[in-house]
Amino acid sequence: MKVLYVIFTLTVLVLYTMATWFGWEIASSGKRSGLRLPFITGFRGGK
């Protein structure tokens, strides 16, 4: 269980680092957008 928890936290940190470096960002899109903290409508990567 400890190992799983460490893997989980490291995964989050690695993903955050990669997202910041490559400019990935979770944001909303579509006709009803403008949310500041989106968890709903999607994620789009860079390039």
Partner: protein
């Protein structure tokens, strides 16, 4: 030093008086105690032969203490009125000093006769009570604050070598043992009035220059067939510490036997144990518990069932007596499938808080206990070696059943007042009778540690709730790692800051929305100037308009001019204000925005479809398109995910502590 040679008046054997301070010498041939007087030598009686123990010391042994050479010249073996023996070795220094080296339960105390100042007369025997603190000032003006550990009667049962006082075989004398901080140890001998003070410190063999000594090879005493067999059923008994054992429980007939100089006497038949659980460990099992036992193996030589009664309900647990000749005695406590390793500590190192709890105690203690331990009011907390311990339980602990060997005259039904203080994973316990007070420190052990130490794998595992009183919260790892990962997230955020490009405005343009008819608003289509977007950067479209009690809605399409790909957003803007009952109010805002994640790099144009109530005047709408806006959404998402672990752990810890303290008689919501 010069040696005086004489002949024993009893057997004629040669006696050598090596120490000038010798008053009585034990003849090594006939074991007569021979007193030296100005008229010659007097035979004052036979002395029992010393019961050989695992002691590494012997007559004639030489050592060095604080640079001063010494030799052990005599020894008296004493028995406590409650059972248990200890040795007093007489230490003759080359510089003329005379010391007493007490050896008890694997510990050594070197003391010297001290005269006390007239300003602090020593208390009488009856004035002393276990737990009481007294202040003694010796002649050089130094003061000692000492706590009474025990008082009782000592009987000199055996001797050898040269004794520096008028030793009388089997003489009984009153004594009290005291201790102070920094391992100070003292004995008050009430053979005379005023009593004699012996003051010194606890020492190790290393302090005495004797660190190379090993316990003497103890050969199993070949006593008579009666003595090694149970006198009741004849079952064979194998005593692990025959020199120290006072009571033995025969496992065949459940008899409690008294052990005296290797002879066993039947005392009583033990009542069956009222505890339905069997002992998890067996007599004879050995284990080394790392630093707790100095990496030495200790053997289980006895086990008992004890109980406390709280609110009419009895709670049982097991205690195992561990023994090693170099270490002495220790305990392993097994309660509700939790384990604790218990070792004795110096009472003088315990500092009790001034906040006393008396009300709860008076309700549970019989009158005789309350009176006897009056000097020890139960404190809400005590401190020991820099740690604070909170009171958890104060109850009468009773011996319900015994098996194996014990170094005191244990009895079924024996009761002591037991007070527990906790600072997980430690527990300080105080056990008091009217004659002695003993403090001990418990170290919580996990089941896996005990299994590994004893080489077993079938010990029952405890449930998480309720926890043991001093059980540490087992999930601190998740809390510490979770907080560390949050800190790491912040560090990464700060470190990566220089690598983020600054925000840039790719389009800033004002479009004008023509006046509309509110009754039937018609959409207007407008286009922005073309602009270029970079890849890997988010896109923020801002719109602001000077509205007054009206609204507009912008449906904006972000069109890639190369492939006509469209990304649509909706930006409503409305603003209303007025005065009601003399108070100004407003609702809405004159600006709004939409945020998109990064789009493919390229040229884009905004297609704006505007509807709304603009009134009779055209409305200028300021449009701005920004890229690389730092919204913090990645950070927030990561922070929330990493906070889950610590938050759950904190909640679990709260439940854990509440469950722990729910078991305490001192718990209050």
């Amino acid at each position: 030093m010069s040696i005086l040679i004489a002949n024993c008046p009893s057997c004629g054997g040669t006696l050598e008086f090596k120490a000038g301070t010798t008053v009585v010498i034990i003849c090594p041939f006939c074991h007569s105690a021979v007193a030296r007087t100005d008229r010659g030598l007097n035979d004052i009686g036979k002395v029992a032969e010393i019961v050989q123990s695992g002691s590494p010391l012997r007559i004639g042994l030489r050592g060095v203490w604080r640079g001063e050479r010494f030799e052990l010249t005599g020894r008296v073996q004493n028995r406590h009125e409650l059972g248990g023996t200890w040795d007093e070795w007489y230490v003759s220094f080359a510089n003329g000093w005379l010391g007493w080296l007490v050896e008890a339960q694997g510990k050594f105390y070197l003391t010297f006769h001290q005269k006390v100042s007239d300003s602090t007369p020593l208390p009488a025997f009856d004035e002393l009570q276990p737990g009481r603190t007294i202040v003694i000032e010796v002649l050089n003006g130094q003061k000692y604050t000492l706590i009474v550990n025990e008082k009782g009667i000592a009987e000199a049962i055996a001797a050898e070598g040269e004794i520096p006082y008028a030793f009388v075989p089997n003489q009984r004398r009153l004594f009290a043992d005291l201790s102070g901080v920094n391992n100070v140890f003292a004995t008050l001998d009430f053979e005379t009035s005023p009593p004699i003070l012996f003051l010194g410190t606890e020492v190790t063999l290393k302090d005495l220059g004797l660190e190379s000594l090993k316990p003497a090879e103890r050969q199993k005493k070949q006593v008579s067939a009666i003595n090694i067999n149970c006198p009741n059923c004849g079952g064979p008994l194998s005593l692990q510490a025959p020199d120290k054992t006072e009571r033995v429980a025969c496992p065949y007939c459940d008899s409690l036997l008294d052990a005296n100089e290797g002879k066993l006497t039947w005392l009583q038949t033990l009542k069956p144990s009222p505890y339905e659980k069997e002992f998890a460990l067996k007599i004879g099992m050995e284990a080394a518990l790392g630093e707790l036992t100095n990496n030495e193996r200790m053997k289980i030589i006895g086990a008992m069932v004890r109980s406390v009664e709280i609110d009419g309900e009895k709670y049982f647990w097991h205690e195992y007596l561990l023994y090693n000749p170099m270490i002495g005695f220790r305990w392993l406590v097994h309660s509700d499938d939790h384990w604790n390793f218990v070792e004795p500590v110096n009472a003088a190192e315990i500092n009790q808080s001034t906040e006393a709890i008396e009300k709860a105690i008076r309700n549970i203690l019989p009158a005789e206990f309350e009176q006897a331990t009056l000097v020890v009011t139960t404190s809400r907390s005590v401190s020991f070696r820099g740690k604070s311990f909170q009171i958890f339980q104060d109850a009468l602990a009773r011996v319900e059943y015994v098996t194996g060997e014990f170094y005191w005259r244990v009895e079924q039904g024996e009761t002591v007042r037991a007070v527990d203080y906790i600072n997980p994973p430690l527990m300080l316990s105080c056990e008091m009778t009217e004659k002695e007070i003993n403090w001990s420190l418990g170290h919580y052990l996990t089941v896996s540690e005990v299994q590994k130490a004893f080489g077993v794998d079938d010990l029952p595992k405890p449930s998480l709730f309720p926890p043991a009183p001093n059980q540490p919260f087992p999930y601190y790892f998740y809390l510490k790692w979770g907080i560390a990962s949050l800190l790491l997230l912040i560090i990464i955020y700060v470190v990566l800051l220089p690598f983020r490009s600054t925000e840039r405005i790719v389009l800033s343009q004002t479009i004008t929305i023509a006046p509309t008819n509110n009754q039937n608003p018609q959409p207007q289509i407008l286009f922005s100037n073309p602009f270029e977007l970079n890849g890997n950067q988010n896109v923020k479209i801002e719109a602001s308009a000077p509205l007054q009690n009206s609204w507009i809605e912008l449906d904006i399409d972000l069109v890639n001019t190369a492939n006509d790909a469209v990304e649509s957003v909706n930006i409503p803007i409305s603003y209303y204000s007025g005065v009601e009952d003399g108070e100004q109010w407003s609702e809405g805002s004159n600006d709004n925005y939409a945020l998109l994640s990064s789009l493919p790099a390229g040229n884009y144009i905004l297609r704006i479809q505007a509807t709304g109530d603009t009134g009779p005047n055209p409305i200028p709408v300021q449009l701005k398109v920004r890229q690389n806006t730092n919204t913090g959404t990645n950070f927030c998402c990561a922070f929330i995910l990493l906070s889950i672990g610590p938050l759950i752990t904190l909640y679990m810890r709260s439940r854990f502590e509440k469950s722990r303290w729910n078991q305490s008689m001192f718990y209050s919501d």
